[in-house]
């Protein structure tokens, strides 16, 4: 259920984002999901890729500051209130979300979250029969 997400530290400089994507492109690694968090002088690119271990090594070899973080992905119907319902389960269980990102795809929406307590979060989602996305599925999206 846990999936590996890459986090890359990037200075706020024109072209840095392009360079990351070019490195991955050269290696034939696909980005299935990504988001960027930023502040005044740097940003962090978080993304799920087709081959996380190889992508990590390739980026490191190219001197990017990259780290691996475990996240969990789930799917819910692409309808009003679906996300609210799942998030409600988590807050009831006292699980805090550090960050999340999501994208809708037709009738379904995929959500990636980084909770403070990963195992407890997965446990809650399982109990509530939320559709968890296997890591292998996430990498292939």
């Amino acid at each position: 259920m846990e999936a590996k997400q890459l986090s890359i530290f990037l200075e706020n400089k024109t072209g840095r984002l392009t360079e990351v994507t070019q490195v991955l492109a050269r290696e034939g690694i696909n980005l299935s999901a990504l988001c960027i968090a930023e502040n005044a002088d740097f940003g962090i690119l978080r993304g799920v890729v087709s081959e996380p271990d190889r992508a990590y090594q390739v980026l490191k070899d190219n001197h990017f500051a990259v780290s691996v973080t475990n996240v969990v992905g789930f799917a819910c119907p692409n309808t009003p209130g679906s996300l609210a319902q799942v998030l409600g389960y988590l807050s009831e269980a006292g699980i805090f979300i550090e960050y999340m990102y999501s994208f809708a795809n037709g009738d379904s929406a995929n959500v990636i979250i980084r909770p403070t307590n990963l195992e407890a979060c997965i446990e809650v989602l399982k109990q509530k029969r939320v559709e968890l996305l296997a890591a292998s599925d996430l990498y292939k999206l």
């Binding site: 986090s7 502040n39 490191k60 780290s67």
Partner: protein
């Protein structure tokens, strides 16, 4: 080990007598052979007869880097060119290069002084020296080279740069000692780690680092990363080159070879001598130089001198770690800042690499100072808050050490230039 026990451990009274005799001789020599000094002394109403002992040195005129530039290239030489056998010159980042010329005897004295350094580090004929200072006009490479040869060691005349080759030869030739700038040594240490060759396969045990100011924190880091003992070697080309001073095994200050290069500390504003142990500008007078003897040369280096006998047995005066050249000192919003202070703060925090860049500018008539630092790979985190906390911690420590607010900027790994010679740590845009 002590290379020249007679001179290095002599009782201070006898040393003073020798220094007095040598000063009288060199002043007489300069007066009669260097028109620049004769003119200066005549203007002050001085003759060589006014110098009776080393205490009279305070009567003599000072010499500055500007004097060297004004007399470019050979105006301060005291011998005809036929007796000069080596010429070195500073890189001359501002204006003309500073030229120094040596006679055969000057080179011998210089080698003698460097030999004292290497012996003090525990090196001897069994050692293999990798000299990674630049060879050429810069005195570092050839200076260290001659000294190592003089003690009978084997020398790898590597020069600076070409890091992959440096590591390969250091490994394959079994170098036991390395001479380079401390910033390049750090870079080498990183490169060794990246090469994947285990540190145990290297035979390195001694590092002779100099040509730029460095800190105790940097020493600890170099010793740990390279598995060596790291020693300071002090020098400046105007005086000789490396080997003007050195640390002994006690590492309680840098011994100066004061039988050849007589040191004084003066107040940089009033130019009056300060009491022993008090900080001021270091000034050197050549006691034995033939080619280009300088009287009371102002180094701009700020330090203090201690005359108590060292536990190593040497009586040679000891100098404190150089806080910085008064030239390096930045005045930011009226506060004196030395890059070495910033460096020591960074080195105390394991989260950051030792490489940094300080960018000074003036915006709306206010000085600004931006410090660019790299976070070490193992400390990069996915959490922005943790990164911001690191930044805040560094900012806070700098504030307490400098009394100034520094704008800290976290940059990506390997984006700050690694130097192979003297590191460029400061960009002052205000002067441009």
């Amino acid at each position: 080990m002590i290379w020249n026990e007679t001179m290095e451990c002599m009782d201070r009274e006898t040393l003073r007598k020798i220094q007095s005799a040598r000063l009288k001789k060199i002043v007489d020599y300069a007066y009669h052979n260097t028109p620049f000094y004769r003119r200066k002394m005549q203007q002050m109403g001085l003759t060589p007869d006014d110098i009776e002992s080393i205490d009279d040195i305070v009567k003599l005129p000072f010499t500055t880097k500007l004097d060297l530039r004004d007399n470019y290239p050979f105006g301060l030489c005291a011998v005809p060119m036929s007796q000069i056998c080596r010429i070195h010159a500073s890189s001359g980042t501002t204006g003309r290069p500073t030229v120094v010329a040596y006679t055969r005897k000057d080179l011998r004295v210089w080698s003698e002084c460097v030999s004292r350094c290497f012996y003090a580090y525990g090196a001897s004929e069994g050692d293999i020296f990798q000299v990674s200072y630049g060879y050429g006009l810069f005195t570092g490479g050839l200076g260290a080279h001659q000294g190592a040869e003089n003690i009978g060691a084997s020398v790898i005349p590597m020069s600076s740069g070409n890091t992959a080759k440096q590591i390969q030869l250091m490994h394959d030739f079994g170098a036991t000692a390395i001479c380079c700038t401390p910033s390049y040594a750090l870079y080498l240490a990183e490169a060794i780690r990246e090469s994947g060759i285990p540190l145990e396969e290297f035979k390195l045990r001694i590092g002779a680092f100099g040509a730029e100011p460095w800190t105790e924190g940097m020493r600890a880091e170099l010793e740990e990363k390279l598995g060596i003992k790291a020693y300071d070697i002090y020098g400046l080309s105007e005086v000789a080159g490396p080997g003007v001073g050195f640390e002994c095994e006690c590492q309680k200050g840098t011994h100066l070879n004061e039988d050849h290069y007589f040191p004084e500390i003066v107040d940089p504003q009033t130019l009056e001598p300060v009491e022993p142990g008090k900080t001021g500008e270091l000034v050197f007078t050549h006691l034995t130089k033939e080619g280009m003897p300088l009287l009371r040369y102002r180094t701009k280096d700020l330090t203090a001198l201690h005359y108590e006998k060292c536990s190593c047995g040497r009586t040679l005066v000891r100098m404190d770690r150089i806080l910085g050249r008064s030239d390096d000192m930045l005045i930011i919003r009226g506060v004196n800042v030395f890059p070495s202070q910033i460096e020591s703060v960074i080195l105390e925090m394991p989260q950051f690499e030792a490489h940094y860049l300080l960018v000074v500018d003036r915006v709306n008539n206010t000085d600004t100072m931006e410090l660019q630092v790299e976070v070490r790979p193992e400390f990069y985190t996915d959490e922005i808050n943790r990164l911001l906390e690191m930044k805040k911690m560094l900012h806070g420590r700098l504030q307490s050490v400098l009394g100034l607010s520094v704008d800290v900027k976290l940059v990506e790994p390997k984006t700050i230039e690694r130097s192979t010679g003297k590191a460029q740590r400061v960009i002052d845009k205000r002067k441009l």
